[in-house]
Amino acid sequence: MQTTTGDDADYRLRCLKQMLRIRLVEETIAERYAEQEMRCPVHLSIGQEASAVGVCDALMSDDRLFSSHRSHAHYLAKGGNLKAMMAEIYGKRDGCIGGRGGSMHLMDPDAGMMASIPIVASSIPLATGTALSDKFDNNGKVTVSFLGDACLEEGVFHESANFAKLRGLPIVYVCENNLYSVYTNLADRQPDRPLTDIPAAHGIEHRHVDGNDLEAVRKAALWAVETARSGNPTFLQLDTYRWREHCGPNYDNHIGYRTEEEFQIWRARDPLERYRKMLEESGTLAPASFAGLEKDIQAEVNGAFAFAIDSPLPEPTEALAHVYA
C-alpha cells in the first residue's frame, strides 16, 4: 500500500520488499509445514507475488480487498498483520480470527483486508456489496475482488459483474489467471476465447497484462483503481503461475497434470527475480543490498513464526462465542 516515508518513498523498493517478504513467509511455511504444527490446508502463492503487490500498491490503506482460499499474498500486500496471520495458520489464540478459520479464512478488517472465503467465487458478491455500500456513503473507497480463473465459471461472478456495471460501483475485479483449477487446465474448463471477453460482455472496461511483471501490474492497477473510484467498475486479467501444488508445500510437476517444462518456463519468469534484476540494472537497488534486505525480512518472518508458536491454543469453550452478534 502507498506510504510515503523513508525508503518506501520509492514505490519500487517498497514493492520489491513486499514481494520478497511474501516469498520468504511462504517459503518458510513450506519449509516448516512438515513439522505438522500448521494443522490446516495451505494454498501458497509462490510465483504469483507480483499481482498481489502490484495491485495493492495502487490502493489506499482504507480501500478494501476480498480474497479466496489462496490469500496469504493478498493479506500481506494489503497490510494485514503478519504475526496474526502466522498465529492463525498455527491455530492459535492470537490468530487474526482466533484460530477459527486457519489459512483459508484470513482477514484483517482494520487493514481493509475484509475477508478470504474458500468457496470458489463466494467472496465476489461480498466485494460487490461493500462497493455498493461505499457508493452510498460516497466515501471514495474502492474494493478489489481477487478471483482465480475458475471463478469466471461460477454464475455469481456474472451476476455480480452485471450489477456492478449497472450501478457504477467502485470495484476492481482482479483475475489471477494461473491456468489451473487444482489439476485441471483452463482449456478443459473454458472455451478458447479471451477471458477479457467476459467483462467486455458486461460492458466492463478491462486490461490484460503480464501478471509476473510488477511494473505492468501496478500500472494497470493504478488505471483500474482510479477508474473504479470514479464509479466505473474495472477488470484486470493478470497471467501468472503457481509454482507449488494446489494445496500444500510441495512441488507436483511429476504427477502428470502439467509438465516440468511448463513449470520451468514460468520459473524463468519469476516475478521477484525479474524485478530485482530490473532495479539493480536501473541503479535503484545497489547490487549488494538485496542480500541485506533478505536477511532483515527473514528476521521479521522468523519473529512472526516464533510469536505464533509461542501463542497459546484457544480453549474449547472459546468456540462458543460469536455465534450471534
Partner: protein
Amino acid sequence: MSMPETTSAPGAPVINMGTAIRDGLLEAARRDPSVIFFGEGVEDPAALFGTLKDIGKQIGHDRMIEMPIAENGLIGIAIGAAMAGKRPVVSLQRVEFALLALEQILNNAAKTHYVSNGRHNVPLVLRMIVGRGWGQGPEHSQSMEAIFAHVPGLKVIMPAFAEDAKGMIAAAVEDDNPVVVIEHRWSHYTTSPVAEGYVHRPLDGPRTVREGDGLTIVATSYMTLEAVRAADKLAEAGHPVEVLDLRVIRPLNLDPIVESVARTGRLLTVDTGFRMFGIGAEIASEVTSRCFDLLDAAPVRLGLPDHPTPSSRGLVKGFYPDATRIARTAAEMMGLDDAKISAIEEDILAARKDIPLDVPDPFFKGPF
C-alpha cells in the same frame, strides 16, 4: 473385535470404503451405458479421493464429463440429462460445493417427478464428501444431511462400511430417483472384506451392527464407527447395547428402530451433523410417539454443538461426539455407576493413546 459388517463373502479381499465405492460405481456403469460421471477433476490424479480412479479407462473417457467450476449450472445440467434418460453421477469433493446448487437440487431434482405427475424421472446420484480434521474449518467440514433429508422427493444415504457402500452406491445408480450420497472422508479409510463383482444392497433402512438389550443406539456414517467402539467396550463391561447403522436417512424406515427400542426401552441417537434440527431429532420424536409407554428413559441425542466448526485443534476439542462420550451417555441412561463409567472411558482413551484428535483414529480402519 467382531465384524459389524455381515459380509456376503467372508473370504473376499479386504479393501477400504473409498475403493469399494469406486468398484461399485464401475460395476454399475458397466451394466448400464447411460451412466455418466460429472466431477471437477473427474479424471485428475486425485480422482475424487480415489473413488473415480480409472473408471474412464474402463468405460470410455467420453462418459467422464469434466465439470467447469460451476456447480449450480452443472448440477442443473445433470438433472436435465437425467430427464432425458441418462443416469448421471455427480461427485463433489465437499458437501459445501453442493450448496451452490441448492435451488436445482431442492426444486428440480426433488420435485420434477412429482410435478410432472410422474411423467419425468430424475435418476441422478449426487455424491458429496464430508471433510474432517486437519483444520478443515467452518466451510469444508459440514455434513448437512438434514437439509437434503428435509425435502420430499430426494433420497439421502450415508454409508459407513465398505461392502455396504459398494452395494448401496450401485443401488443408488439404479434408483429412478435423485439420491444424495453423503460420504464421510474418514469412513473412506475403513476396510472390510468386500465381495468382488456386482454387489447390490437395497436402500431399505437401518441395519443392526451390534446386538444388545440395554439400549438402542442409532448412528449415521462415521458416527456408527464411534458407536460400535463404545458398544464393544460396554459389552466387555457386561452391558451389551444395540447399534443400528441408519444408512438411509430418507426415506426413513423407522420400523427396525421402533422394534429395537420396544425391546431395550432406551434410545440414543448420534448425528454426524448438527444436533439441533438434526436427524436424531426426527428419530427421537417419531420413536417417542410410537412407543412412548415402552420407554424407560427419555431419548438422548448427540451431535455437533450449536456453532460452526472451528479450524484450530484447540477449539475443535470436544466438538465431535466420540466413543467415550457415546459410552458415557449410554451408560448413564442405563443407570451404571460413575466408577464403572469412568473405567469404560479410560479403557477407550487408553486404546486411542496419544493420537491427535484432528487425524483419523487408526482403530477405525478395520477390517470390520
